[in-house]
Symmetry: C2
DNA sequence: GTCTATAAACCGATAGAC
DNA sequence: GTCTATCGGTTTATAGAC
């Protein structure tokens, strides 16, 4: 976007940026935003704090970049589900199963979304919007199932969406504390119940 | 426990201790453990940091005392539900409804349980145990309903317990971010579904 | 029991050399 | 682009006067 440079430098800068984002994601996963320091992130990348701050002006800027980076990854996952021709709720299971492959992803969103309930948290509005967005997507999914006669007509799609998200989030916290939980089963059971009702 | 003192001093000390615990609970509710400082707690009580540390030797000791204090409050709530002769799931609804009266309580457990998924967190084992304990209580409740023919025989009480806790926890996070969620309805709907299935 | 003062470490961020 | 050095602020915790 700024002055043009040698392609070699641009490529290298981009590589470092991404390695910082990955390291920050991992560090934030364990300690949240408040419980993590730039020193930890820098150490994980193998550079100095000042070196890190050359790529991201502040800790908050780094967090925002991490959130943006994760969104692009999520979009990719969603796209492949669409390409496979999966319809709700199968595409949703696909997303969860994909998430479960990387515990850091589960930790990040569990810890960060709870931390971000504080209105002063830098990611507050991000998670606020995120929940509304995901709720709408799932509510549309349930509405489609209702039209297709796959779930009872008296089910409120929006309420079902919020509940499914709650089950997903809640089981993830339990899973992080005690690994005696199946992340998918509870959600499948719930949708089965909706179908049987 | 140590040397005996004047009753007047003891009473005053106890009062200050409890006011510190209440202040700490409120501060931790908003920022979690990592995002809160002793300065904030001390300011809320109206004493100095050193004054606070006279009553609790360290920040971790304060957190442990807060958790212990909350357990005693919870036990009190559970007892009154028992005295009212409420059986599962009505007693559980009672606990949730009571919790919902104080948003700080919801914030505290939502933020702290997520933060405590980190094995290095001082409250890690507390929340680990807490989930196992609550899961057992609710699983017994569902087992009782199954024996009484109130839910289908093929329902797994433990899985249902974990799911109900997940719904409760998950909806609380959503409620903290966007107040467009009913904390009780999702849980009542779920148990209704189990009964109908 | 509460205070002031302070230690010692860590934090995010900046300045400037290379 | 990365580094060392450093500033200014905050953190938990201690020492010691009252």
């Amino acid at each position: 976007m700024s002055e043009p440079r040698r392609k070699g430098n641009q490529a290298h800068t981009q590589e470092v940026r991404i390695s910082i984002l990955k390291a920050a994601f991992s560090v934030f996963s364990h300690g949240g935003f408040n419980g993590s320091s730039l020193k930890q992130v820098a150490a994980k990348v193998g550079i100095s704090e000042a070196g890190l701050l050359h790529h991201f002006n502040s800790k908050v800027a780094l967090l925002n970049a991490v959130l943006e980076y994760r969104d692009s990854v999520s979009a990719e996952v969603a796209e492949t589900a669409i390409k496979k021709g999966l319809a709700f709720p199968l595409d949703w299971y696909q997303v969860i199963a994909n998430t479960a492959k990387n515990p850091d992803v589960i930790m990040f969103f569990a810890v960060m979304s709870a931390e971000a309930t504080n209105p002063d948290h830098p990611a507050h509005s991000y998670f606020k919007d995120r929940y509304l967005r995901v709720t709408n997507v799932l509510a549309e999914g349930f509405a489609g199932m209702r039209e297709a006669g796959q779930i009872a007509p008296e089910i409120d799609p929006e309420q079902a969406a919020k509940t499914l998200i709650a089950i997903s989030d809640g089981l993830q916290v339990q899973w992080l504390l005690n690994k005696n939980v199946d992340l998918l089963q509870g959600q499948k059971d719930y949708i089965s119940l909706l179908s049987a009702g």
